[in-house]
């Protein structure tokens, strides 16, 4: 009975997301994987390109897809103070609508990034977009404004002059935002229909780019917020702390990822953490410095862990015990995080070359595909297609036409 309840809870946690949807940073539940099949292996500007749409300005956020629509954010203007949310038809690439907003927070950032770095999140009915300026917008699928907030106006010391990138996630009717920076640092659960705080908790001050992770821990949903000193689990409904793993040198760039009941945490090495609870501390099941990623988050797929390091080498390990398996030399650098489906892993480097790798104990490069543009955003997979975005274009890569 308990196992049945846990399974059902897991289904609920999936948020009743349909197949063919990619609803947040790294897709459903932040896993970086889907059940899509028939995905393309080879493509170019002239091959297996279902459509290509122009985008304004710049963007590092990954596209999100739900109910036949692709949502993308961008930022433009002399000082990156124009914030865009665009919606395209998944089948045709036709732009359905675009909304612009003016930045209310600082637009200062490292030249590599921009104000459209955080990835939006959608529940299919609405899209919620956070920009690095701390402007937070909710629009419905038709582009109607549901609500808007300026987290910078609300909390004036919030600041990260390198640029922010943590993406919001959804849990039931709450939008969960991690706002750790050089000023007032906090995490907040926002009512997704009204934009008003349901709870807000203090977090350690320090710049941080990781995205929160919602997991099912037994029969309890939890949201994990990771900083350089800890990864802590909270009740997503109330913000009440449940358990915490404290360490030094935990990553502030690669995000934690779920791995079949464990959580993979990037630190000075990769840690596989069994979540704790209010009675028990979390447990480190294994550690490995062989499968530690550099900038891109790691990937859990088919009971293996994959991570690409700063030398552009894709390493693979057994997710059960961390035992190193094979590796495949690619060519970096990689800012985008890998994603997987259909037995294949897709990794795109900053030059815009996507490496399609056969998943397995010994990852095997199948194809390299170049689009000739810088790509810093992680890919999305939905509707039998791989979605890539550069600053200037949104690409829908597919082997066949959409159904």
């Amino acid at each position: 009975m308990k196992k049945l309840l846990i399974s059902l809870s897991g289904l609920l946690l999936a948020g009743l997301v349909s197949a063919g949807e990619w609803t947040q940073f790294r897709g459903p539940l932040g896993k970086g994987t889907t059940d899509d099949t028939g995905l393309p292996v080879r493509w170019s500007q002239n091959e297996n390109l279902r459509w290509k749409a122009e985008l304004p300005g710049r963007g590092l956020s990954n596209p999100v897809i739900a109910r036949g629509r692709v949502y993308v954010t961008a930022s433009s203007g002399v000082s990156q103070d124009r914030l865009h949310i665009l919606c395209f038809d998944v089948a045709t690439g036709k732009k359905l609508w675009e909304r612009q907003f003016s930045a209310t927070g600082s637009t200062l950032c490292h030249p590599k990034t921009c104000m459209a770095a955080p990835t939006p999140v959608t529940d299919g009915e609405r899209v919620y977009a956070l920009f690095a300026t701390c402007d937070l917008v909710c629009l419905d699928a038709e582009g109607n404004l549901i609500w808007y907030r300026s987290l910078r106006k609300d909390y004036p010391t919030v600041s990260n002059n390198v640029g922010m990138a943590s993406s919001p996630v959804l849990w039931e009717d709450l939008l969960l935002v991690q706002m750790e920076n050089a000023g007032e640092s906090f995490a907040v659960g926002i009512d997704k229909l009204t934009g008003q705080n349901r709870w807000k908790i203090d977090r350690n001050r320090g710049i941080n780019w990781v995205t929160p992770l919602v997991i099912q821990n037994g029969n309890q949903p939890e949201v994990l917020f990771q900083s350089s000193q800890e990864i802590t689990a909270y009740d997503p409904r109330t913000g009440r702390k449940r358990w915490s793993y404290e360490g030094t040198g935990l990553s502030t760039t690669p995000s934690p990822i779920p791995a079949n009941g464990t959580v993979l945490v990037t630190a000075g090495e990769m840690l596989a953490l069994r979540p704790g609870n209010e009675q028990n501390s979390p447990e480190v099941l294994w550690r490995s410095n062989r499968v530690r990623p550099a900038t891109a988050s790691a990937l859990y797929y088919q009971e293996r862990v994959y991570a690409v390091n700063s030398a552009g080498v894709l390493n693979c390990a057994d997710a059960i015990n961390g035992k190193p398996l094979g590796q495949e030399r690619l060519k970096g650098p990689f800012s985008a995080s890998p994603v997987a489906a259909d037995g294949k892993i897709y990794l795109v480097n900053e030059e815009g070359t996507t490496f399609v790798v056969q998943a397995g104990d010994q990852p095997k490069l199948l194809e390299k595909n170049s689009l000739g543009e810088t790509i810093l955003a992680s890919p999305a997979i939905a509707d039998g297609a791989v979605f890539l975005r550069s600053d200037h274009h949104l690409y829908c890569i597919a082997a066949k036409k959409a159904k």
Binding site: F101, T104, L139, Y148, T157, A182
Partner: protein, 379 residues
């Protein structure tokens, strides 16, 4: 009159009044303008927004005019309403009110943001509008409209140069320089003029203060200096000496930067110090009372003051610096005004965390220098 007819007339009259209220954007705009911190008023604003957009293009100018209040929260609600109305009208095959939009664009009493938004929708449906409007906007109060006018003038000057008309090009570039406010355009013009043997004092153009009295280091070990109120923050006495960091005597001294963008390198001027605070002070003379912006760029934590009043404070170290990174708004008195900036260096050992510097300029809301004279009495 029979009672039933009277009742019917009353009902009809009430219905007409209700319909008039339904098409009146005023109350809907008021609800949107009432949004507050942490989502206060969002529920009412959401309903009002939907109703406002439903009114269609008849409400477009009213929504644009509501942007004149320049309240940043409401502005984004209103901006989205303009885009939604215009997009839906065009998607439905209807026309936008182009005459009204152009009138709105031409009226400089409206906010720059509103006029720019109106212009962008106008230009989308009337491709001749840019040629008609932009050339006359070199001195426009809207930064973005002015920028387009400068860009157009730069193109024209390049064509003049290509034709060999050097004198006309120089004249054109000088006009462009007078109007340009964005750093990239100013640099472009200055570089063009330099090739034509005309030097541009970039620091003067932007209004950077270059001559300062400096003092330091005071203590910022473990960041304590940011909040600490050292003597210069209490009163500037250029003749006095103080105990600084590690009780070392510190005194005010003159320093003038030759950097093209007014950057003062405190590591060179004060000496290389970590965990330290430095102050820079200048007295400027303003011909009249005027609202200004003091704009600062620094990799370090800063506070800056105008006539003893704190205008801006930000505590963040080594995450990047940029011209106009921090903006404080104040008012210059006619005559003498005192500007003080506090620049805090932390104790990071990373090679990229060693910079201790700042640049400060005084300008109007559009970023144009306001023509001040530095009159600091040295000692």
């Amino acid at each position: 009159m029979r009672p039933t007819v009277a009742v019917l007339l009353i009902v009809l009259g009430f219905d007409v009044l209700c319909r008039a209220a339904d098409t009146n954007p005023g109350p809907l705009l008021a609800k949107i303008k009432a949004v507050g911190p942490e989502g206060a008023g969002n529920v009412e604003a959401t309903r009002a927004w939907k109703e406002l957009v439903r009114l269609g293009s008849s409400a477009l100018i009213d929504i644009l005019a509501a942007l004149d209040d320049q309240a940043p929260l409401a502005a984004n609600w209103l901006r989205a309403a303009v885009d939604a109305v215009a997009e839906k009208e065009l998607n439905a095959g209807r026309k936008l009110p182009v005459d009204q939009l152009e009138t709105f664009v031409r009226q400089t009493k409206h906010s720059g943001a509103a006029r720019r938004l109106a212009y962008e929708w106008l230009a989308r449906v009337d491709k001749t509008a840019p040629d008609r409007l932009i050339p006359g906007m070199l001195n426009d109060p809207s930064a973005e409209l002015r920028r387009d006018a400068v860009a157009r003038l730069l193109n024209e000057n390049q064509q003049r140069l290509d034709k060999g008309d050097k004198a006309a090009a120089i004249e054109g570039y000088k006009r462009a320089l007078t109007s340009a406010r964005d750093r990239d355009q100013v640099i472009e013009v200055a570089d063009k003029l330099k090739k034509l043997d005309i030097e541009v004092d970039r620091a003067a153009h932007f209004g950077f203060i270059r001559s300062w009295m400096l003092i330091g280091p005071f203590d910022n070990t473990k960041g304590i200096g940011f909040k600490a109120v050292y003597p210069p923050e209490q009163k500037v006495d250029l003749a006095a000496s103080f105990k600084g960091k590690m009780d070392k005597e510190v005194r005010w001294f003159e320093h003038t930067t030759t950097d093209s963008y007014g950057v003062v390198d405190l590591n060179k001027a004060v000496g290389k110090n970590m965990g330290a605070v430095g102050y820079a002070f200048a007295v400027v003379n303003s011909k009249a009372e005027q609202p200004v912006q003091i704009r600062v760029g620094s990799n370090n934590s800063v506070k800056f003051f105008l006539n003893g009043q704190l205008l801006f404070a930000h505590e963040e170290y080594h995450h990047g610096d940029r011209m106009d990174q921090y903006i404080g708004k104040g008012t210059l008195k006619a005559g003498r005004n005192e500007i003080l900036i506090k620049v805090c260096q932390n104790e990071q050992t990373d090679s990229w965390a060693q910079k201790w510097s700042f640049q400060l300029r005084v300008c109007d809301a559009l970023g144009g220098a306001v023509g001040l004279t530095v009159v600091t009495e040295k000692k």
